[in-house]
Symmetry: C2
Subunit: 156 residues, 2 copies
Amino acid sequence: MADDVRWLDSDELQGWIALAGLLFKLPGALDFQLQRDSGLNHFEYTVLAALSESPDRSRRMSDLAGEANGSLSRLSHVVKRLERRGFVRRRPFEEDGRITVATLTDEGYAYLVEAAPGHVEAVRRYVIDALTPEQLGQLKAISDQILAKVDADRSC
Amino acid sequence: MADDVRWLDSDELQGWIALAGLLFKLPGALDFQLQRDSGLNHFEYTVLAALSESPDRSRRMSDLAGEANGSLSRLSHVVKRLERRGFVRRRPFEEDGRITVATLTDEGYAYLVEAAPGHVEAVRRYVIDALTPEQLGQLKAISDQILAKVDADRSC
DNA sequence: GTAGTTTAGTTGATGCTTCAACTCAAGGTA
DNA sequence: TACCTTGAGTTGAAGCATCAACTAAACTAC
């Protein structure tokens, strides 16, 4: 057991504890609003939103997984659920049979349009309006830097 | 359908997308390291760590839930698992039979001591070392402000 | 052209989280 | 005393996420 661990000093600990609280609680709060008002969780919403902004409201599965920050397996399960509810359709891509293209249906689009205002309002209430514009910029830089480290680790 | 939704402008959207990425990916990365190296998830680790810093390594369930940022129900399930593994013990509180006190066992403490260096290293790699000290201070302020809004909503 | 490899996606099992329903103890209140 | 209410925790069921195993298509190279 190496005892040369660089433990966190007081400032580091305080910053980390605050972030950990955020990681535990904000997702739950966002999921709660979406689930209550629209019967979607945050990941499902993100998938629908990503599709709605894609050309032809369509995207291949692995692209979509990246866009929505989830694994391909998770996406596959979720798209199956969304397909059952009539919000998404899947079909194989002609030019390469390995590829599956998911498409947002009109019902799915309509459902997203209903869900969006409540979700945006929640994001505004919890995040945007809680911060100054300057802090929001700081948050973007901070998140990007952390994500870069996480992605570096998990992709290789 | 009211159409007076305050949609997000470009800066707001960029900040939110970056944060959303963080919310989706950082927990997974931390869970992955802990699970692989210690067979714990982040919430379980947090519970053990909270107990280890409590007087007598003991704390009543609802306190502990608050400290670990989880619901009482979630904590109850998790403590049951941790009890099965011999890391925690539970007993009723004499002075008020409604209260349950959870105590970290010696085995649990030893296990936590083994798990801590790897977890701290991951936190350092993903978060602390990715940021300047100034950014870490910003992150604490930002997180606290967001959490205040979330808690205001969910507790009342 | 066929054998092996890589790429894309799906599936099933397992485990964790959440929600609602429940138990049990303690504090009123009449 | 009996009754109601509140508070603390537990439990079971249902849904969701994760992991490993799998299928199938396409490329590679002999």
